[in-house]
């Protein structure tokens, strides 16, 4: 165990107030805007966390209407991701695809969102049919838009239809105006567009923090992996920054609807805007938590200093950091991109947060980066992060250990509207295909996609933004690239499928799961695809050995996905749950659940809504939405056992190099787990033994998890389970599953 010590003397001397500005053309851009529709409405603040209405906007017909929030919506779906799934279910048919007009983008913050007394309460959830998976995707995002939307009077925003011109939706929650404007000459990329729009819609300098912009960038128009940036105004730096709704291509849906941006102008944020039922309990719980952060964070994860990048070197130490497309778990050059480096590179005169009142404050910024490539070459910019996923995905997984190159990749992903996790995993796949001759310079149009070649990596990204060359193929994502390469006859189909790290069409996020069966399930047995926000069980399973049986793993894959779903129903960030723990947590029962924090969440929900719940009710609330989403997947033609299949790279060693790099470990498993003798066997023979063992136990895990979740062995929620959850009363649910129950 090591504790990184912060040395302020080592921080690079960077003037974070110096950066390229983009406001010169603002007046001309504004003059070109044309009002297509404007309505007035009565702004309102939430009562006990809910405004009790949602906003529907059709960007084709220009219909703008309010819808009531029903008691059923609150009881069954709570808010956030639940409200998103509810609206999407009502909007689409089983035949709807991502680019059909009836597909929606729903943004909903949840009843607790906007609270300023506790850490991590500024989240909103974005839900849509994904261009990558053809099922609902949900993406959890910070920034100010969600809370400001709620404080403008709406628990959710539904966007439907497809415009024939580029438009901006402006919600003025102070004056009570909703306006759709044609925006013919607005900038395309987020870092320019959001700066321009923030200044365009703010009434004065003091109003800048009350503006939040949702936007994407050029790559969202030419790829399936588009991301949404949610802005927040950084008063200290005097600039607009972003948090990202990254996964599943919602930015692509956004641009397909020809939405250039959403702009919300909310009231000045104060501590009482959410009008909770019991403000005293909220204040007391918040004070207790802030004290805990202040006293413990410095000797625990140091989130305030390092953000999520603090685990780069930890993952490396445990052989869990993805290297070269998840082949290996560590690399000798990782010290070049670990948190000791980012402490020096990120400008941290004070801690950063992406919503008011968050004492964990893990949003970091690297200032003063002068770009070396692309359309903004020579510009000086601030880069958000890098967060762990970016450092691992854009860095180690692609063999990129040059920190400035990593920051430039991170910056362009953000401004072009590309999910960094997806881009990292798909580029790592391309680089391995290049290594193994599946791709070559001719097939990539001249790009030498060798490990660590960040010049080629950046050029591929610029191509993606321009919709040109191999970058356009890369923008299809791993699943469609696999199909394309196989169709072209460019390599062994089994190898291509084994090393392409996607499940359901979504790329894996940045953790090695080979040695944790529970995490293999934590990735593959998910609703939306392999994102770690359902369950991160590697330490419990692989290191601690706390989950020895299939039933133990199944129990963890029941509890943790449901517990973590709940954050997305309410507007919470996951990080404050377990990236700091109370001083006496070690002596509590089930300390890995951080029981005091679980009780905090129970208390905060009750104190906000006035609805008294227990920790068991919390799980039940999530279970309703989680099972509804599973049924939704089935309704869309997916959501069965076959769709939960995992690529073999996530289960075990695909190649000879992988096996031989950890031969001692793998040989020992042949003895201990399979009861066989590896002596005298070739590497290929031993790899075959591993494949049989590993795929077999993954199949047994599926059986155990489905049984624990109350699903059939084909992954379908049973009628009994749906009745237990009260979902049988929801129109259409029983009809969907009945087709799959015999």
């Amino acid at each position: 165990m090591s504790q990184l010590v912060f040395d302020p003397a080592k921080v690079m001397n960077i003037d974070y107030t110096q950066r390229t500005e983009y406001l010169e053309g603002l007046e001309a851009i504004q003059a070109a805007h044309k009002v297509l529709k404007e309505i007035t409405y009565t702004p309102s603040l939430p009562d006990k966390g809910y405004t009790n209405r949602t906003l529907y906007v059709n960007v084709d017909t220009l219909e703008i209407t309010e819808k009531p929030v029903t008691q059923q919506m609150k009881d069954v779906f709570i808010g956030g991701r639940g409200f998103g799934l509810y609206h999407l279910w009502n909007a689409v048919k089983p035949t709807t695809r991502w680019n059909d007009p009836e597909n929606e983008i729903i943004i909903s913050p949840g009843p607790v969102a906007g609270m300023t007394q506790y850490a991590g309460t500024g989240k909103s959830l974005v839900v849509s049919l994904s261009p990558q998976t053809d099922i609902p995707i949900d993406s959890n995002v910070g920034g100010f838009f969600g809370p400001l939307l709620k404080f403008s009077g709406f628990d959710a925003l539904e966007l439907q239809g497809k415009s024939d011109k580029d438009i901006i939706l402006f919600i003025d929650g102070v004056k009570g105006i909703i306006r759709i404007e044609e925006a013919p000459t607005d900038p395309v990329d987020s870092h320019v567009l959001a700066e321009v729009l923030t200044h365009m819609y703010a009434e004065n300098e003091a109003d800048l923090p009350n503006i939040s912009v949702v936007s994407t960038g050029a790559a969202a128009e030419h790829s399936l992996i588009g991301m949404l940036n949610f802005s927040f105004y950084d008063r200290r730096r005097g600039c607009v920054r972003f948090k990202q709704a990254g996964r599943g291509g919602i930015g692509t849906v956004f641009r397909n609807k020809r939405i250039r941006a959403l702009v919300c102008r909310g009231p000045v944020v104060k501590g009482n805007l959410n009008h909770p039922a019991d403000p005293e309990t909220i204040a007391r719980t918040g004070i207790k938590y802030h004290k805990e952060i202040r006293e413990n964070d410095g000797t625990q994860c140091m989130m305030r200093r390092n953000g999520t990048a603090h685990i780069v070197e930890i993952m490396d130490a445990y052989d869990l950091l993805p290297v070269h497309n998840f082949q290996f778990g560590s690399h000798p050059d990782v010290h070049r991109i670990d948190s000791a480096y980012w402490q020096q590179r990120c400008t941290q005169a004070t801690v950063d947060g992406c919503w008011y009142g968050c004492s964990m404050a893990c949003a970091k910024g690297a200032d003063g980066l002068v770009l070396k490539t692309g359309p903004y070459q020579g510009h000086m910019v601030t880069v958000d992060g890098p967060e762990y996923e970016n450092a691992a995905g854009l860095g180690s997984n692609c063999g990129v250990f040059d920190p400035d190159a990593l920051l430039e990749l991170n910056f362009y992903c953000d401004t072009y509207g590309i999910c960094t996790i997806t881009y990292g995993t798909l580029t790592a796949f391309i680089m391995e295909c290049y290594q193994r001759g599946i791709l070559n310079k001719e097939r990539t149009g001249g790009l030498e996609m060798t490990w660590g070649n960040f010049e080629a990596d950046l050029e591929m990204m610029h191509q993606m933004a321009r919709g040109e060359g191999f970058g356009k193929i890369a923008g299809l994502g791993v699943k469609k690239m696999k199909e394309h390469f196989i169709q072209q006859g460019w390599g062994d189909p089994q190898l291509i499928n084994d090393i392409g790290m996607e499940n359901k069409g979504l790329e894996y996020s940045q953790y090695m799961s080979k040695e944790s069966l529970a995490q293999q399930g934590g990735y593959a047995l998910t609703n939306k695809g392999p994102q770690h926000d359902e369950a991160w069980l590697i330490f419990m399973d692989m290191v601690n050995k706390q989950l020895p049986t299939f039933e133990d793993k199944a129990e963890a894959l029941y509890y943790f996905p449901l517990f973590r779903t709940w954050f997305g129903l309410n507007g919470f960030c996951k990080l404050p749950w377990n990236d700091v723990v109370p001083a006496d947590n070690a002596s509590q029962p089930e300390p890995q659940k951080v029981p005091e924090h679980v009780q905090n969440y129970v208390d905060l929900f009750t104190a906000t809504t006035g609805i008294r719940i227990t920790k068991e009710d919390l799980i039940m609330q999530s279970a309703r939405v989680y099972n509804f989403q599973r049924v939704f997947n089935i309704r869309m033609g997916k959501g069965l056992r076959l769709h939960d299949a995992a690529p073999y790279r996530s289960l075990g060693p695909v190649t000879r190099e992988e096996y031989e790099s950890r031969a001692e470990r793998y040989d020992k498993q042949i003895v201990d787990e399979m009861g066989l003798d590896p002596v005298g066997k070739t590497t290929e023979e031993k790899m075959a033994l591993h494949r049989e063992w590993r795929t077999g136990r993954f199949s047994k895990l599926m059986d155990a998890v489905y049984t624990r979740r109350g699903w059939t062995l084909d992954g379908v929620p049973t009628l009994d389970r749906l009745k237990e959850l009260g979902l049988d009363a929801f129109p259409g649910v029983v009809e969907v599953v009945k087709q799959h129950l015999s």
Partner: protein
């Protein structure tokens, strides 16, 4: 010999909890450590010694993700 998270580890006289963490390269800062069922407070990692044959559990909290 001692058992650390169900794996054997060579024991030596005067072995401390800190020695075990170094030997296993356990660098994560949020740990709960039991030696023979007894919780070892974090401030004692440098001084708490481990008897031969002890069962050591080093529970890493979840974090990550």
């Amino acid at each position: 010999m001692i058992q650390v998270n169900e794996e054997p580890l060579d024991w030596h006289e005067g072995m401390t909890v800190r020695d075990v963490l170094r030997a296993r390269n356990y660098r994560f800062p949020m740990l709960i450590i039991h030696v023979g069922g007894a919780l070892i407070p974090k401030q004692d990692y440098d001084t708490a010694t481990i008897p031969d044959g002890a069962v050591v559990k080093v529970i890493h909290l979840i974090s990550g993700g």
